[in-house]
């Protein structure tokens, strides 16, 4: 064919194709005029704040043009928007210094999730059936205001939220206070109330510590997954990297003591198994050897410690010697070690070890982020046990998923006459709501965080919207302010909008603080420069203070040893932490670093214990406690004691979008409702279970490693 003929032909076929399209309206793509000035192909970067955990890492968001399918005046079409494309760590942010964890990276999928709640909705079916019908914002706000007006006792308004220090939470607290309701209940499955209370006693700061890992020569961890999920993991991992290879010719040593190897324990030079509920005794054993003249520690001689913990006396002596040689040393406690009925003992024991380490003439590795105690206290999570309310507001909390049956939260919530949720997704608890008032995501509205730890600078992070809201959503603090104004007797809130509330907070810090928000997503000051509260400044453990006499109280476990021979440890998973990110597909398909499991639940069993029970990898096992049972595939792990089984938390949602609904099992459902005897916080590592093999591998354990990729998957049969 001649070139000319070819062109003619394509012109004709092209035209006819276009004409055909005109005849079929469904083939037309309507392009609406964009609302914003967009330069295609040019990226902008805007600061934001990571919403996933309380660490409050700074973000920089890449913004570019993208096509978004939408409706205008009943007409479906496509419009160009400025869309967030990628989340990266903010390089100048003092907490994450340019880095960002996997959960933070995946947070962008919160905004673009296909199952987001796109507009206010009202319950249309029975409670819990998650049948909703759309309503307008005016209708929704009027309905909520009406319910609040109808309260005969204003104390009957309950508010459940994640205890994340922020101005956002201050708006909610202010609303409740002015309304006459109690403060919000701060609920987090893996909460840190035990350590905060212990730190209040030891250091005068009811706050999580910031660790100076980068200058430590010896770190000893007690159960704390500080490189994975606990406290401020990105900041702590940066310090850890420095400790290992950041100083020429010096490499810090790291020992982890715990009954199940966490991701953090997997990085230790030496992982030491101690019997569940005795970890703090090892800390006091080391402290005793470092301060032999201290009468308060006299009961913790190596032999006595070995008897209680199962850690050889010689090992404890060697550890104490090494610490003495390799100072400065630092002890870190957290996670399951504080989740026994004697959790407070372990916290105090490790604080004591730190006091002894500091007393030996070296700088303490423990500090406290200044100003983070400047927020008002919340009600403890244990208040969920006695929840009785006429109206319940749910803000970023999923207590039905994250509390043991024995707390009766499901029944209590069923009895609440009216529930409104601000959730962007229908989760286990929001499914019971009467009204959903969907929040913007952190990219679409204002967002802020007052990190409790992770930096020795006073950090206040805040950022405005980086893109326009995709749907008919509204910022929750703004909704609260509007509801306050719509009450029969309106409440005068101190701010007209959420961003005004944030700005008021920044104006208190200093005259230039607010300008930094647009520039870098927050304001941070050196300690001593500009302080946010009177109690600012880290108070390291005082070497002079006498070490209090500590009595080891053995932990209580639910279920007797004969019927329930194994300790049960649910643990925060690297992908989902407490389960709140289980609906993000990137995290579902991210292989778990230690097992390579994806899209799965599993039970970790010691290989010798498994052999005794006739359990092989992938076999379906049933775990039973006094509270109930669940089934999941087995994974054999030499990093767990033969007297324990463990399970990651995150899967097993009744409902949580297409990616996480009814996938795997939720270990929280079989937890006994035991609490730390001193603080009343949930002792989530205090349940005993029995375990039985109930079937061959059923394919529910999906691993990335193992088989060749292009081989069909054959399950092992016995």
């Amino acid at each position: 064919m001649e070139r000319r003929d070819f062109i003619k032909l394509t012109a004709i076929t092209g035209t006819s194709a276009a004409l055909t399209a005109c005849g079929n309206p469904e083939h037309q793509v309507i392009r609406f005029v964009p609302d914003e000035d967009i330069v295609p192909g040019i990226a902008e970067w805007k600061p934001s704040v990571c919403p996933v955990c309380s660490a409050g890492c700074g973000l920089t968001v890449r913004i570019m043009d993208a096509d978004f399918e939408t409706m205008r005046n009943g007409q479906a079409g496509v419009v160009a928007i400025k869309a967030a494309k990628k989340l990266e760590g903010q390089p100048t942010h003092p907490i994450n210094q340019g880095a960002l964890c996997a959960r933070g990276q995946a947070a962008i999928q919160l905004t673009y999730h296909p199952d987001r709640v796109t507009q206010p909705m009202k319950r249309s079916g029975t409670r819990g059936a998650a049948d909703f019908k759309p309503v307008s914002w005016d209708e929704a706000i009027a309905e909520l205001a009406g319910k609040l007006d109808g309260l005969s006792d204003r104390k009957a308004l309950a508010y459940i939220t994640r205890p994340r220090r922020s101005r956002r939470l201050e708006v909610a607290t202010e609303f409740l206070t002015r309304f006459g309701a109690p403060a919000p209940i701060g609920f987090e499955l893996f909460g840190n109330e035990v350590l905060r209370k212990a730190n209040a006693a030891s250091f005068g700061r009811e706050q999580l510590p910031t660790y100076d890992l980068s200058s430590a020569m010896f770190v000893v961890g007690f159960g704390a997954d500080f490189l994975g999920t606990w406290n401020s993991p990105v900041a702590q991992t940066i310090g850890y990297g420095q400790m290992r290879q950041g100083r020429a010719g010096m490499r810090g040593k790291f020992i982890q003591i715990e009954p199940r190897m966490s991701l953090t324990g997997a990085n230790a030079d030496e992982w030491i198994y101690a019997r569940a509920g005795t970890e703090g005794v090892v800390a006091l054993g080391i402290a005793h050897l470092l301060a032999p003249n201290n009468s308060g520690l006299a009961g913790f001689a190596p032999d006595a410690v070995e008897k209680v913990t199962g850690v050889a006396a010689r090992k404890i002596e060697r550890l104490a010697r090494e610490i003495d040689e390799m100072k400065p040393a630092l002890a870190i406690v957290g996670g399951p070690t504080l989740a026994y009925t004697n959790g407070s003992f372990h916290a105090r024991a490790v604080n004591t070890l730190n006091a002894v380490l500091a007393g030996s003439g070296h700088a303490s590795g423990i500090g406290f982020t200044p100003g983070a105690d400047a927020v008002r206290p919340l009600r403890p999570s244990a208040d969920l046990k006695n929840l009785s309310a006429q109206v319940l507001l749910l803000d970023d909390a999923n207590p039905i998923y994250g509390t043991p049956k024995g707390w009766g939260v499901r029944d209590a919530i069923a009895k609440v006459p009216y529930i409104a949720s601000f959730s962007s997704f229908i989760d286990d608890t929001s499914a019971h709501a009467d009204l959903i008032l969907p929040d913007h995501t952190f990219l679409e509205g204002w967002t802020d965080s007052l990190p409790e730890s992770g930096s020795m600078l006073a950090v206040a992070s805040a950022a405005g919207p980086v893109m326009k809201p995709l749907y008919q959503t509204r910022s929750t603090p703004d909704v609260l302010i509007e509801v306050a104004a719509k009450l029969k007797t309106p409440i005068a809130m101190p701010w007209k909008t959420y961003d005004e509330a944030i700005k008021a907070g920044f104006d208190k810090i200093g005259p230039t603080a607010w300008d930094d928000v647009a520039k870098q997503g927050g304001h941070w000051t050196a300690p001593g420069a500009e302080r946010r509260s009177a109690s600012d400044g880290a108070r390291p453990p005082s070497p002079q203070s006498p070490v209090p006499s500590l009595q080891f109280v053995p932990p209580q476990f639910d279920g007797d040893v004969a019927a329930y021979p194994y300790y049960f440890q649910p643990y925060p998973s690297q992908a989902f932490n407490d389960g709140s990110t289980a609906h993000l597909p990137w995290l579902q398909e991210m292989p778990d670093p230690m097992t390579s499991a994806m899209w799965s639940s599993w039970v970790e069993i010691n290989p010798q214990a498994a052999e005794k029970l006739g359990i092989k990898k992938g076999d379906v096992v049933e775990i039973t406690s006094s509270q109930g049972s669940l089934r999941a595939p087995a994974v054999l792990s030499p990093g767990i004691g033969p007297d324990m089984v463990a399970m990651p938390v995150g899967q097993g949602h009744e409902t949580f979008t297409r990616y996480a609904s009814k996938r795997g099992a939720n270990p929280v459902t079989i937890l006994a409702p035991l609490t730390d005897t001193e603080t009343g916080a949930l002792a989530w590592a205090a349940t005993r279970v029995k375990i039985a093999r109930v079937g061959d591998a059923d394919g529910s354990l999906i691993m990335f490693a193992g088989e060749l990729r292009e081989e069909p998957h054959h399950h092992h049969t016995r």
């Binding site: 993208a66 869309a83 990628k86 953090t264 997997a266 030079d269 899209w599 490693a705 990729r709």
Partner: protein
């Protein structure tokens, strides 16, 4: 002299956290395949964290190793490609031209590192997840082999910027998504032809070794051994 891109991975600081895995998905438009396809071994992770148990309880230890395309100088994936989709660039990258790929999968068979991934189906991003896609990286369709590119789009962008600003590229100017996200700074990327670059310095470390070195593939990724005192 053209650059020769390489990476160093410090196994002493890598904690196995998996930030690089998700960062790579976000940057490179890597689809999630869902549980059914993942179960038959079709999940795609251009970078993965390998974990190895060492010893038995209670002396058990775990070792992590992030593995991505090793960008071999003598890459077994390249000569087997009948369409030259899998080829070597002037800057030493093992590149994949998706438009040329006809899906023979010879390259994946030849690769000893198991870092090539085949699109068995067209990728799906239930709307509006597709809005997140990075416009700098092409979305691969069914029948195409894909792999780590060392974030070639970032390399090219930095080179264009440097040229426009008439400034030389500095060591550290280019960070692939995995390197940028790495919290413990275990991953370092740079020009191996620049003896002063950090990656060159680390690659000369006595702790350094190559993955499956004896195969003679001449990888440009150097692993620095875990330096345990225990």
């Amino acid at each position: 002299m053209a650059a020769r891109w390489g990476m160093a991975v410090d196994l002493d600081t890598c904690t196995g956290c998996g930030a690089c895995v998700t960062a790579c998905h976000a940057e490179n438009n890597i689809p999630t395949v869902g549980p059914e396809q993942a179960a038959v071994g079709r999940a795609m992770h251009w970078i993965r964290i390998e974990s190895y148990w060492d010893g038995e309880f209670p002396e058990a230890r775990m070792k992590f190793r992030p593995v991505m395309c090793q960008h071999c100088d003598a890459a077994p994936c390249e000569p087997v490609c009948p369409t030259y989709a899998s080829h070597h660039t002037e800057e030493g990258l093992n590149a994949q031209v998706y438009n040329r790929c006809i899906g023979t999968r010879y390259c994946a068979n030849a690769c000893p590192y198991n870092v090539r991934f085949f699109e068995f189906y067209n990728p799906e991003w239930p709307k509006p997840l597709q809005v997140q896609l990075n416009p700098d990286v092409s979305v691969r369709e069914v029948g195409v082999m894909e792999k780590c590119t060392f974030c070639v789009q970032r390399i090219t962008a930095a080179q264009i910027d440097a040229k426009a600003e008439k400034k030389p590229l500095k060591d550290g100017d280019i960070k692939p998504a995995c390197v940028q996200s790495c919290t413990a700074k275990a991953l370092v990327f740079g020009d191996l032809n620049d003896p002063e670059s950090e990656v060159s310095r680390l690659s000369r470390s006595p702790r350094g070794s190559k993955l499956l070195d004896d195969l003679g593939t001449l990888p440009k990724v150097t692993y620095l051994a875990k330096q345990s005192l225990a």
